[in-house]
Assembly symmetry: C2
Homo-oligomer: 744 residues x 2
């Protein structure tokens, strides 16, 4: 079709959707901004009417809230070379883009898929001195689509220069939030769809739809931006996820909003009942006609976590993005794609007092979430949440007291809508000091030695948290910093399951074919489908400087020989192997071939000669068992190993490729690493994949309690001795005085 | 030798040791009780002088403290069938033993190695109704040694009947604390030892020695109770562990206290310096002449954890041993060997309100800690801390505010000294409500769906904790109960490393032979030796009743075929396999052959037909790689698999055997399981081993920060839906009002 008509068509479709919504909004309310523009707070163009167009309805909602408590980001200025683009910088970049050919010919045909800081080169950032040097030139990098074509552009905000950069050979950019929202309403303008819905016995006004990325399964799906939309009944529950209209899949062209194909394989599968699925506390209260002392609700006696008096370390948030606490200093920011980015993490050496570099940049790079059902309505569900949906775009405001403790500090994110306008995501990240009742170190002497020693030091840590709600799943991402130099990176999976409708209301109806359910019967007509989650982190380690090496310290059984003169037959021996090239550093973990994985600075030794390093310490994880030649696994090939090491390359940030949407797996961590570049004594990037297998159980119905796992970055011969030695025990006076709150 | 003279010899040795101690006590103080008897609080025999004999000096220290705050255990009476023996019951059992032939002929020759409740049979406990039924008959089981022979005896406390039980064929009972203490001083009466010490240039008054169990390495070590003693210099530091007199090993006959052999392989190995090894805060303060605002000490701004107002669930401690909280109810007690025992853990069903049985009894059954150095002074270090040293005996009083939060409740333990007298271990277990800033469940709707939903529920849990300080290592044992039915069992390793002296003061001196160090150079003349830790838990699961089955739910790649009509080539398929016999239930975990491990009640199904169960969920762990035929691995064969299932057998409680000291591995979980008994629909016991490899690093010097791992017992189709659905969100009023403490 003629690409030049696509914008017009888009507008018409949006208007059509708005009309439909007059019908559906009772159960399923469209963000107000779509039909109710309000005044923008962020627009620096005097002529502009509103940022609250169809493109940024969530911006409007934020703006409404801002009336009460303005976030004051309009006047933000960057203070650190890594600070994200400010509102005025976004507006400036937008102006420059709109004035740039070919976009200048039709600025409203330009859709901004991403617009973010183009970080200065590492040496520039590393040599910058706060309060002494001016900020390095501010630059942005944008991904835009214009008349069906993708562009990647570097923007010099000072000079105004806009420079095209190479565009990936396959795949499409991360969806804009705007189109994700509109896609939910797209099917309703198709009469065949509406008829299908009616055949399923659902009122249109009860239907809620979700856009589901379709992966890539061969040439028939190439050369157009496609998505599959599936729908649910929201009748009688906010938890429409538990009420799938099973088997109904609407293939849509994302650019034209055209319904390409409707597949309806759900004959005979009822929509599961709404009863007992709504999870909202407020709704339960309403139902029970009771406000507080609630029918069967368990009121948690939450121990509060309140910091003690002011003489200890405190959480400092300097210039909005630099966190200082307990010897740590790092830069923290929201990112539309990665969610949360930790940069320049440095830890104080208790001996010298110097802040020593550990991690130049760390973030979730990509996710891979394959479902394990090969049938028509499910096979394609192999999400890559960061590159397809935007892990940061999906991060919603955190819920004080429940998502983070009372004393938490919050950071907002500034993101960019499809029309290039900025909006603020409030309370997107929280930072708090954590005391979990754990012990950092302790030792008692026993009566054996007769020394009356009881030494103990509580563990207090700092947590930076964000939560991405990618439709049903909520990913709780924690970076936890310990005073002894350890960093724990933790992923919690929460939210709601993606479930499948079934005609079964009892397992006995499966008659021995339970395997063909591809999951567990969770409730009448509801199957929880088996799936995996993989989160691949990119960790640009700079241990005491950029040039590092990767060392495997392998443990293996050593049989004793006659020369050992030992009654022992065997022991464990450790062997250090320095990885020379990328392929040496591909690690598949094994319980029976254990190893430690060190990133060392070969130029630095401790007093007694050990190489200074940090190690990555896996904990519970899972490995993908899909066929490596299966299309989803080729795209998700960055999960083929748990650990990879690559030489630093600014263009290798996204493990599945810059454009993962419908990508073929041609530009992944696996293909980069296949080049087998030298990595010894180089600026290295360490990649770690945290995995989960999930066989649902009834406890995952109708909500899914948080399951979490983590891995650590841990100093190994980095310090001369343990920093905890310098931690003083806690005394009564260190703690606040707490009394019961007046209202009970 | 004539066994009948051994007591006399023991007394003489003890007196000899006491004389030596007049010299050594400045640096290394013997518990006061040894030479300073005080009045007993616990003795109910009017004629007795003191419980504070040479046998229970730690009891004396407790008694001193008790003057300020009596623990009031003298009048304790049992209130639950599983309550541990009270002080008067111990005294009663002691009387009965002393009156029993052959002990009556010489009661003071009888050494009590263990004296504990003989738990009533399971059906008796299960049918007992509090407040209705009288307690079942109270019985004790004792392990005593008398003139070189071991006895196991059942004692009926009411009737006074004492009945001999079978004695294991190999091995010796857990050492008494008394002999462990005395053994520290035994070498000093040997002139050859003293001369050796002088050759090492150490003053006798600076020497501290530790008794080290020697495993079993063949016939030459059979038929006598042997131990190896190694020594350290305590000059200039409380952290004598960092100052080994390397290579010096004193083989001692535990019964005769005879020095059998002195091995001194440490020529040329200096004693590492004391500088920077003392970890005591008080000592540092003294050195610095500073009380609070300390030279470089980091004062932690510990967020306190204080419970909110009284309307939520609270920790109830009923009758001293029954804990109720958040739907959970369980019996909790101290145990001299296992440390801490959780019994009859039952969780409330949010649907029916009924308390449903999960776990009849859970505890650490045995530990295995092999060091990985085959040389003369190290090869034998393959500890089994529970059965050799007594994991509970080594548990010291917890340090309030540092080991447990301010609001923690404490439980004491009542243990038995070698002479059969009871003593109290104060504050041995703490129980507290925990809020770690985590999220039990949360979900936000994204702008995609337009529903403005932000639901979140904080995770509040209950922790029961004890810490065993087995000489240098401190094992922090947590049982954590969640409101959704999950139980997390966590082991933290803290304390101080066992290190090896070396002539090296810089790694370069190893000249490429680093492997022969068997560890890491941590500081000048100090090597941290590679070692493993395994903790094997015995979990008598009773999921909704005693008869359960063990099911592996195996996940494997399934290739799609033409019949699947799917563009996918592969997916993960789960297959359930019910274990028929013990060998079917031996599990070696693999990342590439993942499975879930369910204990189900085959007689109970959920509404939709799923078998009701709990699963054991491993997280990070390690597997022993020693040669299965290596003597230590034969003794530690209970670590050959991570999971085992056995049919319930009251006599199979200790994974390494009842008598593990010098045992040959003839009576372990491995040998029991080898019988391959049927386990389908039986009363089952699940065994799980948590493992750690430890390659020390400089951060482990001079103290070792806590490293922890855990596994979970998690409901799987146990509840009809998730209990968190019934948790109300936290509101400001739920939290206490906290202000800074006045003293800063």
């Amino acid at each position: 079709m003629d690409r030049s008509t696509s914008l017009l068509r888009l507008i018409l479709l949006a208007l059509g959707a708005a009309l439909v919504l007059l019908v559906v909004r009772s159960a399923f309310r469209l963000p107000r901004g779509i039909d109710t523009p309000t005044t923008s707070l962020f627009d620096d163009e005097a002529t502009a009417g509103s940022s609250c167009t169809r493109f940024a309805p969530w911006g409007c909602r934020q703006a409404d809230r801002i009336k009460q408590k303005p976030p004051s980001h309009e006047n933000d200025v960057p203070r650190h070379p890594l600070d994200p683009l400010t509102i005025s910088e976004v507006n400036r970049a937008r102006e420059l883009l709109r004035a740039h050919p070919p976009f200048a010919s039709s600025p409203s045909s330009m859709f901004v898929h991403s617009l973010a800081l183009d970080e200065p080169d590492k040496p520039v950032v590393l040599s910058w001195r706060k309060g002494v040097d001016p900020l390095p030139p501010r630059r942005a990098v944008a991904v835009v689509r214009f008349r069906g074509e993708a562009f990647v552009l570097a923007i010099d905000l000072a000079s105004g220069a806009v420079t095209p950069l190479p565009v990936p050979a396959s795949g499409y950019p991360t969806m804009t939030m705007d189109e994700q929202v509109l896609l939910c309403y797209t099917p309703f303008r198709d009469p065949a769809f509406n008829a299908t819905i009616q055949r399923h016995g659902v009122r249109l006004s009860d239907v809620a739809c979700l856009p589901i990325s379709l992966g890539w399964y061969g040439p028939s799906e190439e050369n157009r931006r496609l998505i599959k939309i599936q729908c649910f009944s929201a009748e009688g529950t906010a938890n429409f996820y538990m009420r799938p209209i099973e088997g109904l899949t609407v293939l849509v062209d994302m650019d034209t909003r055209e319904v390409v194909r409707i597949s309806d394989r759900g004959a005979g599968i009822p929509i599961p009942p709404a009863a007992n699925t709504d999870y909202r506390y407020s709704r339960h209260m309403q139902d029970e006609g009771d406000d507080q002392q609630t029918a069967g609700f368990q009121k948690v006696r939450a121990p509060s976590m309140e910091p003690g008096p002011s003489s200890g370390p405190r959480v400092e948030l300097v210039d909005g993005h630099t966190v200082r606490w307990g010897g740590w200093e790092f830069h923290l920011k929201a990112d539309a794609r990665a969610g949360m980015v930790v940069s320049r993490a440095r830890v104080q050496d208790p001996g010298t007092g110097a802040h020593r570099e550990v991690l130049y940049k760390g973030m979730a790079s990509e996710l891979f979430v394959p479902y394990m059902d090969p049938t028509e309505a499910w096979y394609f569900k192999t999400y890559m949440d960061a590159g397809e949906y935007g892990f940061g775009l999906q991060a919603m405001p955190l819920v004080p007291l429940n998502d983070c403790p009372r004393h938490a500090r919050y950071l907002d994110g500034v993101f960019v809508a499809a029309d290039g306008r900025p909006y603020v995501r409030e309370k997107m990240i929280c930072v708090f000091e954590r005391y979990a009742g754990e012990v950092a170190w302790r030792h008692s002497e026993s009566p054996i030695t007769g020394l009356d020693i009881r030494e103990s030091r509580p563990k207090v840590t700092l947590v930076a948290r964000m939560v991405a709600s990618v439709a049903n799943y909520d990913y709780i991402m924690d970076w936890e910093f310990q005073m002894d130099g350890l960093v724990r990176i933790k992923v919690g999976l929460s939210g709601i399951l993606m479930v499948k409708g079934t005609s079964y209301s009892h397992l006995s109806e499966a008659r021995g074919n339970e395997g063909d359910m591809h999951g567990t019967l969770l409730s009448e007509n509801v199957i929880g489908v088996i799936h995996d989650h993989y989160v691949t982190f990119r960790l640009d380690m700079d241990v005491d400087g950029a040039d590092n090496s990767f060392v495997r310290v392998e443990m293996a059984r050593q049989e004793t020989g006659p020369g050992d003169e030992s009654p022992r037959r065997s022991y464990l021996r450790a062997t250090r192997r320095v990885a020379e090239t990328e392929k040496d550093a591909r690690v598949r973990l094994s319980l029976y071939h254990p190893a430690e994985f060190h990133v060392v600075n070969p130029a630095k030794k401790t007093r007694v000669g050990n190489p200074v390093g940090y190690k990555v310490v896996p904990a519970g994880t899972a490995a993908s068992l899909l066929d490596p030649e299966d299309p989803p696994q080729k795209r998700g090939a960055f999960t083929n190993n748990q650990i990879w090491v690559t030489p630093y390359n600014k263009s290798e940030e996204w493990a599945g490729g810059l454009f993962v949407y419908q990508s073929k797996g041609e530009d992944t961590l696996d293909t980069w690493s296949e080049r087998d570049r030298p990595i010894e004594n180089k600026d290295l990037v360490l990649w770690y994949t945290l995995g989960f297998h999930h066989i649902p159980c009834q406890e995952d119905f109708p909500i899914m309690p948080t399951v979490s796992s983590s891995f650590d970055l841990k100093p190994v011969n980095f310090f001369e001795s343990n920093p905890i030695l310098k931690q003083r025990p806690t005394k009564e006076d260190d703690l606040p005085i707490c009394t019961a709150s007046t209202a009970a």
